[in-house]
Amino acid sequence: MIKHKGFSITTLLLLALIVFLFFLPQLAGKYVMYMTMHILILSVFSLGFNLLLGYTGLLSFGQAGFYACGAYGCAKLLLVIPSLLPGIICGILFAGVFALILGFLCIRHTRIYFAMLTLCFGMMIYSLAWKWRSMTGGDDGLIGIPRAPLEIPGILSIDMSSMGNYYYFVLVVCLLAIGLLYRIVNSPFGLTLQGIRDSESRIAFTGISVKNYRLIAFTIAGLYAGLAGALLPPLENTVTPPLAHWTHSAEPVMATLLGGIHTFSGPIVGAFLFYVIKDIIVRFTEYWLIWLGAIVLALVMGLPGGVVSIFEKRLIPWIRLRFGERSPR
């Protein structure tokens, strides 16, 4: 099998990006690290969301609920046991259990009813986080969550109090999660999901349980939202109810559509653009949302494929042409 030059260029760029991310603490200040962590967290959040939207064809408007489950689950445990790994795992599992139970109900619908149902469950979680004061701290949220050390008894113990160390932890965890999801969407399971998206009845006729596949996809999306949420409390030292609010659910939707829903990397590019656009605009005006709104309008009206589609359709063929290789298609 001959490898195309275009393919190897993308791989090369990807490797360069990962190496760059690993050397980032040496090159940049704390602010850039902090931003990068947020971009990574939103990437993971959006990738999980896009497993539902782009790969399975289900638009969830309640992912922030699972994000908040991850954040609160992690925060609650860290307040009792200050050790990083158990906290993160607790957050992920908590969100996963919720996603499994609520997913069982949500996957009975598709399209607009699915969107409404997920919105509804997300807001249910929000209302609990907001009002159940004894458990969640109410509208004050939970505060004073420690950035606990990474400890595995007898093997390693890494202090996380410096932002640089936590940056490496977030980076490694997110890269592993992204790699795992890449494997999942390119496995027979991932292809089946895309089949369900394109034609539900054809997949059903081959004897595959569409509902089970949707439920698994929903649970994975919930786990990823939970992971993203669980990485937050050690970084910010606090969690608050707005994490579960539907406007927060709109963030992965925006990031994903910004980058492009039908590509794996779309949500990552979108998450990057989301924070960069925000960072640039707030330098000039406090009214950055009006510009984000205008960008959203422009994108939906003019570029429904997302930003990544420009690269795939224009830039990569151009590079291939430039380097004298034939396009694979």
């Binding site: 939207l53 638009l59 408007f61 109900l105 009975r108 619908h109 399209r111 607009i112 009813y113 969107a115 409404m116 149902l117 919105l119 509804c120 469950f121 807001m123 249910m124 209302s127 609990l128 907001w130 009002k131 159940w132 004061r133 539907w246 406007t247 709109a250 939707v253 925006m254 559509l257 829903i261 009214y287 950055w288 949302l289 009006i290 984000l292 709104g293 205008a294 960008i295 959203v296 309008l297 939906v300 009206m301 429904p304």
Partner: protein, 285 residues
């Protein structure tokens, strides 16, 4: 017992705001097939317009109500004619995202023009005061709201059932292609229906100004309640929207009284139950 009945009346006045906003939302969904996330922002714009005309410029109360409706209808015209029209063929995700973009724009635009602070406009003199119901003072303004809501309900029913325009709307809602084939000008119909829905939302917003605060972000809060109402009644079902609004309004009023901690939660439980057991809504056929 009297406390409960009284609280029910308070719930009913709550319900009328919800009804006004849900009516426009559900008509637009029924005819255009678009679930307009920014419908709450039109409610907010109506409130700000009314506040400006009545509270700041001192224009006659009724005239400022009318001007607010026209203003919101104009915004609706721009939204439909230049944006929504081009995305009817796109996936529902893009429609939700586009209208979400409008929320961001309207929220910030309102902050730029009117500032980010809460504002409480004055109450017109002839609405101040209260009458005794069940031995308790009940604000006259709430009675006005309840009667307006019921009046709008009757008016809408008459328009839809008794007028030519209403028939066209019903025909297009049930079969867009066939309506187009027999000569209904669909693009113009869509624009007018959207403007009409916008004006209804603005009416709710404008009427809310003397009793609720006017602030950026009230649109995003009320749209979720409007979603709950329309889902309970059935998306696109006007009669359902009215009953849904009454259910949610009264439930909220009793919820605040009986279990303040889980009042919001229970409303979403009702919504989820309807979606799961009878997704076409309590009144869907």
């Amino acid at each position: 017992m009297e406390t409960l009945a009284f609280q029910g009346l308070i719930g009913l006045s709550l319900a009328m705001y919800l009804w006004l906003i849900a009516a426009g939302l559900t008509i637009v969904f029924g005819v255009l097939g678009i679930l307009n996330f920014a419908h709450g922002s039109l409610f907010m714009l109506g409130a700000y317009f009314a506040f400006t005309f009545y509270g700041l410029l001192g224009i006659n109360f009724w005239l400022s109500m009318l001007l607010s409706l026209l203003g919101a209808a104009l915004v609706g015209l721009i939204m439909e004619r230049f944006f929504l029209r081009y995305i009817y063929h796109l996936d529902v995700a893009y429609q939700l995202l586009l209208t979400f973009g409008f929320i961001l724009i309207f929220d910030d635009a309102v902050k730029m023009i009117w500032g980010g602070v809460f504002m409480i406009p004055p109450m017109p003199d002839f609405f101040t005061g209260a009458i005794l119901i069940f031995g308790r003072p009940f604000p006259i303004y709430n009675l006005f709201i309840i009667s307006t809501g019921i009046g709008v309900a009757i008016g809408l029913w008459l328009i839809l059932e008794r007028t030519w325009w209403g028939r066209i709307i019903r025909a297009s809602a049930s079969d867009r292609e066939m309506a187009s084939a027999i000569g209904v000008n669909i693009p113009i119909l869509f624009t007018t229906v959207f403007m009409f829905g916008a004006a209804l939302a603005a009416l709710g917003g404008a009427l809310s100004t003397p009793v609720r605060v006017v602030a950026p972000g009230i649109g995003g809060a009320i749209i979720i309640q409007a979603f709950v109402v329309t889902v309970i009644g059935g998306l696109g079902n006007l009669k359902g929207a009215f009953v849904g609004a009454v259910i949610v309004g009264v439930l909220t009023a009793y919820g605040i009284l009986l279990f303040p901690i889980f009042e919001l939660f229970i409303i979403f439980v009702v919504m989820a139950a309807v979606l799961l057991l009878k997704p076409e809504g309590l009144f869907g056929g």
